[in-house]
Symmetry: C2
Subunit: 340 residues, 2 copies
């Protein structure tokens, strides 16, 4: 194979670029650590819609539309939309795709969906199958809460290991034409299950998947953690990140200050989210705001974006199953021509 190295990593020799990106988040996220980096902050989490589910779709549509505009492209220039979300049958992504009248591939990797979309999208672009591909995903606290946990009206107490589903969406436009940071490679993750059953401790369930993909990535590419300015996991949260650091250290990989986690970073300590953020929208919003902006500024030059997902459903947990996790990683390198 020309474009594969090691066991799980593919190389994008033509260097697809993220030629445009857009992030939209809810009010709570807008008061968090990255308030100065988001493109748009909702004043009302219903976004003028009649249900939170419709608001989730509208955020995704808004992010996609604005990322296309930001690339100076028309909708007709887009060859493919790739996306998914947390709602049953990924209705947010599918219903959103109606509005664009362009080909659509629905994907599902729980909170790893942004990285999965980028890996697939980069393949279509790098292989010159398609010119411009949009990768987008999002979540909404209120839709996830009532689908996975309790009715919102119940105001149920949250356990200390829990995370807070991010209200937000992010969209990236990939192309070989134009300026933007480059997607250099992708490490496709394996489903990993260490037997965790606690649905309020997703970080612990996902950390082994992150470890699996990161170790494979370092081995495949013959790199070390020090080769990256930023190693960013999806949304393990504070506890999950600590578990990951322990697991990595046991395997001989010591993470320094260049490691962080989207879930851990997105809210500030006064926002009572316990372990931090989660949801497809978490890593999508953080990547498409703070991370790419800091790459513009030259603060990060080489980023390993490793989004993680917990692949459970309410039914699998009701039937006593454990929680499998997955993690897909993409390497993004600074475009030296792009400076702010």
């Amino acid at each position: 194979m020309n474009n594969k190295i090691g066991d799980q990593t593919i190389i994008f020799k033509n260097e697809p670029k993220i030629i445009s990106h857009y992030s939209v988040v809810g009010e709570k996220e807008g008061n968090g650590n990255f308030k100065n980096y988001y493109h748009y902050i909702l004043k009302d989490d219903l976004f003028g819609e009649k249900s939170f589910e419709h608001a989730e779709r509208k955020m995704l549509e808004f992010a996609i539309s604005n990322s296309i505009k930001g690339a100076n492209l028309k909708i007709a220039d887009i060859d493919l939309l790739i996306g998914g979300d947390l709602l049953n049958q990924i209705i947010s992504a599918s219903f959103t795709a109606r509005h664009f009248d362009r080909p659509f591939l629905g994907v599902y990797g729980a909170c790893s969906t942004m990285a999965e979309s980028l890996a697939i999208g980069a393949t279509f672009v790098d292989g010159k199958y398609l010119k411009n591909v949009v990768c987008a995903t999002g979540t909404h606290f209120s839709t996830a809460e009532r689908q996975y946990r309790f009715p919102l009206e119940l105001g149920n107490q949250r356990p200390p290991t829990s995370q807070w589903t991010v209200t937000g969406a992010g969209s990236s436009v990939l192309s070989l034409n134009g300026c933007g940071h480059k997607i250099k490679m992708a490490t496709l993750g394996k489903v990993t299950d260490y037997g965790i059953k606690d649905v309020n401790n997703m970080g612990a369930a996902m950390a082994p998947a992150a470890m699996s993909t990161l170790i494979s990535h370092f081995k495949d590419t013959k790199t070390t953690p020090d080769d990256y300015d930023l190693i960013l996991t999806g949304d393990l949260g504070k506890l999950g990140s600590e578990i990951l650091m322990d697991l990595m250290e046991h395997n001989g990989y010591k993470f320094g200050k260049n490691y962080n986690d989207c879930g851990q970073m997105i809210y500030n300590n006064n926002q009572k989210t316990f372990q931090g953020g989660s949801g497809c929208g978490c890593s999508a919003a953080v990547l498409n705001s703070f991370v790419l902006k800091k790459m513009d500024e030259g603060v990060f030059k080489r980023v390993l974006f490793a989004a993680t997902g917990a692949l459970l459903s309410t039914l699998s947990s009701q039937q006593g199953d454990t929680i499998p996790g997955i993690c897909h990683a993409v390497v993004i390198e600074k475009d030296d021509k792009k400076e702010n």
Copy 2:
């Protein structure tokens, strides 16, 4: 773009082959029209498991394992599994992927998932990113029925426009090495919504999506329906197929005897399934048994496999939304070296 023609169609110049395939179905399907074509027919729809959901996973695992064996490959030779299913958060595919310890990409296109998987898988293989890719999907009547409709114990009456979710799974191994029928191109579908709200009439909801993709395919490739020995839609069922034929005729495309539909074909008239079969497992099982076998025999030399999906959820219907549809198509050509 080197590998795109027209608006929605990509070309696989290296001709990825389906080097192995496997189908497993339930007892009812085993009494249907293709009983002599399936690789394995369950004697018990629980497949020895404690729940129908676990049986669905086991079928998928069984189909994947046997397709890998059929290709004379080991699990370690597989670079990627691609799959999805109808259950919330595609737990069947994700949980199944745990057992293989190979990279996994989860996709969701409702009953179009087999074609979506083949289109993505063929891209990875054709572009020489990966060597051997397994595409698999499945469904189970009893899991779909209780997730989407009523408890099984209720024995609810079925409306005449309804379809019957197929208990079955199919798996295809794609590679550039080895013998097998060739995936020549894929037409990636748009989400199409004609405003149908009747959840018991999926054929009507999906027919416009099939029309959209088929017309785009014929335009992109400058072919006509007569250029195919078989044009096979996913699972529009009897009524949906009639609607599609009407819609196509209105657009100047007359379908002859070379058109059929997996849902319409899979059961016989005595099986009381009204409009026929549905579910990801329907087109997956029909493709990976009857269709590829008939290609081996030379009965079909050029097949346009256009699987269709209805992208609703119970929640979207409860909120009064219409039912969007999608259809992805792949062209499969007979490998002249392969004869039975």
